[in-house]
């Protein structure tokens, strides 16, 4: 029985890791969407976390306990730098500006040999595991749940529904926006560091436009009423391609079909309910 379980876990180990990491990414997009902003910079922040942590581990041989918290620093610095000018933008304009960030960083990774260029960085030791990934996911979920139930959550919801009305009611909109962007940078940076330390290789094309859209789709499928909703969306979108492996060449068709049906019939996400507040 034990041997069977070991084999089973070994087979799906990477999937188990991916579920946790994509859960963190879903939370990262959730915080931005929760204040009514549309950002496509999550993959860029993830890349910053992945690259900075990999360099700390591989080139400076720092211990993982130090690398993991430090991997949030670079994404946060970038979030602060771009936060000022871009948070004046809203809606689709912010989305475009954040896509720009991702593309600029991709070009930087490609053209500077220190980052491995197109060959990426390989030979990253496996330092993260189930404990680190799911521990952080649970902590993040709890914190976001508690924040969501507090007066901050009420302010966030007000901003999401009607920003002008929220501002008139005395909510400091720019501060909440920046706060949300920073929190999302931290979460994405952590996810990047964790994913780099379980998959032994990172390359510049993993953090471009396509993954940014995938992360956004986690929240679209799950919904943004509660923090758990986007995580559920991430889990479904991560599990589907693997569960449909049996369908061989038809799996992409079914994968797409399931998502289209979900979006058509559940436009507010799978979990549409909102947080209850006392």
């Amino acid at each position: 029985m034990m041997a069977w379980w070991d084999d089973f876990f070994w087979t799906y180990q990477n999937l188990v890791y991916a579920l946790g990491i994509n859960g963190l990414l879903a939370l990262s997009i959730y915080v931005v969407l929760a204040v009514g902003q549309l950002s496509l910079g999550q993959a860029a922040f993830m890349g910053l976390g992945a690259y900075s942590s990999t360099i700390m581990t591989v080139k400076f041989k720092l211990p993982f306990l130090l690398v993991l918290p430090a991997s949030c620093v670079v994404p946060v610095v970038f979030a602060l730098l771009i936060g000022g000018p871009t948070l004046r933008l809203s809606g689709v304009y912010l989305a475009i500006a954040t896509i720009g960030l991702g593309e600029v960083l991709r070009a930087v990774y490609l053209n500077i040999d220190y980052f491995g260029g197109a060959l990426g960085l390989s030979g990253i030791p496996e330092r993260a595991g189930v404990g680190a990934i799911y521990g952080l996911l649970v902590v993040a979920l709890l914190v976001l749940w508690l924040v969501g139930r507090s007066h901050i959550g009420r302010a966030m919801e007000a901003m999401r529904t009607d920003e002008t009305a929220a501002e008139v009611m005395g909510i400091n909109v720019p501060r909440y926006r920046l706060g949300a962007l920073l929190a999302s940078a931290v979460l994405a940076g952590l996810a990047g560091a964790l994913s780099a330390h379980v998959s032994s290789f990172i390359g510049p094309n993993e953090y471009g436009f396509e993954p940014a859209v995938t992360i956004l789709s986690y929240a679209l499928l799950g919904g943004i009423g509660t923090p758990i909703a986007p995580v559920l969306g991430a889990w479904i979108l991560t599990l589907l391609p693997e569960m449909l492996r049996g369908l061989a060449d038809f799996r992409l068709v079914f994968n797409g079909l399931i998502i289209v049906i979900a979006v058509l019939f559940l436009p507010r996400g799978l979990l549409a309910f909102r947080l209850r507040r006392s």
């Binding site: 070994w10 990477n14 990426g120 998959s199 693997e242 492996r245």
Partner: protein, 374 residues
């Protein structure tokens, strides 16, 4: 590379995969990880076709006293995570004793550590980047690394009187960058003078700035390391800018595709490319392979299919010599491989790379088709 390819690929793949699925109940489990969907699917589908063609012959007689090889081909979609998942599924669930693939070098850098940890021999048939077999003692490859092919091409160029070169490459994908590193090293080793190094993006359509600079320097040869689409673009634009016969264009492995003639047409004439295999190679093994491939799939094989075809035979022979479907014994047997296939004589070095580059031929484009370069 486009939707139509994807569709034909999906249909061909379905037809091919439903049949063996029924017969997979017993046999020696062997896994393959290839890109069957997405933009790079053309490579994976060609490899799968080569593997299955070889398997038809192998399973007719059977190995280890009449046992059949049960090949499971998993799709990686060119995605690192899906490739790892596929490898883990093949080893953990299907109990594969040997893995063929994955298609891209980038995928191998992620998959290799996983299969190596489980001590399952893994043979890349299309991974040409440097450092692949250094992942671990269970990682092999049958594809000639570019570092074996490029020097042969450059020597041919030197024999034609080339003394100065301009190097161009796409700097946003691992394959092209790795090919460029090899070209630069080869040029330095042969004493060719490098006049300039110009980069572009794989999806670029305008190369006039780089080409104008190159033209001003008047190099004897221009080398291009990129996939076939951008290479075609560079050639077309170079002819418009007045590059003539006096400049020799040299391509890397990416240019070694019949698509070069399809896209660039006469603009590609005169370009030379080193190749581990050539469809019209006058060798009885090769002509039989090409005929069998045409009969089964109704199209011409490419080098990826040829490499995969040989690899399947090499793997089957190793299992036979190992005397059991045991990964450890197969690894030991693989190291002692001595095989002659459609690519020519084959053996592994101590570092698990192909030992000989004898099979390399230099091809030249003429009228939109490759022929042996004079």
């Amino acid at each position: 590379m486009n939707r139509r390819h994807l569709m034909t690929g999906a249909i061909a793949g379905l037809a091919a995969s439903t049949l063996p699925a029924a017969a997979q109940a017993a046999g020696i489990p062997v896994g393959a990880i290839e890109i069957l969907t997405g933009p790079a699917a053309a490579y994976g589908i060609a490899i799968k076709a080569g593997l299955e063609l070889a398997l038809d012959t192998i399973n007719q007689k059977g190995i280890l006293g009449g046992q059949k090889i049960a090949l499971t081909v998993e799709d990686s979609a060119g995605d690192k995570n899906q490739a790892i998942n596929a490898a883990r599924k093949l080893i953990g669930r299907d109990k594969a004793v040997l893995i063929i693939g994955p298609t891209l070098s980038n995928e191998m850098f992620a998959v290799g550590p996983v299969t190596n940890e489980r001590k399952v021999p893994t043979i890349g048939t299309s991974t040409t980047a440097t450092g692949i077999t250094e992942i671990g003692p269970y990682i092999f490859r049958t594809s000639l690394p570019e570092s074996d092919v490029v020097p042969v091409t450059f020597k041919k160029a030197q024999a034609r009187g080339v003394k100065t070169v301009a190097l161009m490459y796409a700097n946003d994908d691992a394959f092209s960058k790795s090919g460029f590193d090899v070209m630069k090293a080869a040029a330095e080793k042969l004493g060719l003078k490098i006049l300039t190094i110009e980069t572009f993006g794989s999806k670029d359509t305008d190369f006039s700035a780089q080409l104008t600079k190159v033209k001003g320097l008047k190099p004897d040869a221009v080398t291009i390391s990129a996939l076939v689409e951008p290479v075609s673009g560079v050639l077309l634009q170079a002819r418009q800018l007045g590059f003539g016969k006096e400049t020799l264009f040299i391509g890397g492995n990416g240019s070694n595709s019949p698509k070069l003639g399809d896209i660039a047409g006469a603009a590609a004439d005169g370009m030379i490319v080193g190749s581990p295999w050539f469809i019209a190679k006058p060798d009885p093994l090769n002509t039989a392979f090409v005929a069998a491939f045409k009969a089964k799939y109704n199209k011409d094989p490419d080098q990826f299919a040829a490499q995969a075809y040989d690899c399947m035979f090499i793997a089957a022979a190793a299992i036979e010599r190992a005397g059991a479907a045991d990964s450890e014994k197969i690894t030991a047997a693989l190291a002692k491989t001595s095989y002659t296939g459609v690519m020519g004589p084959f053996a592994f070095t101590a570092g698990r790379d192909p030992a000989s580059s004898e099979g390399v031929v230099v091809l030249e484009m003429k009228g939109g088709k490759f022929g042996i370069a004079s």
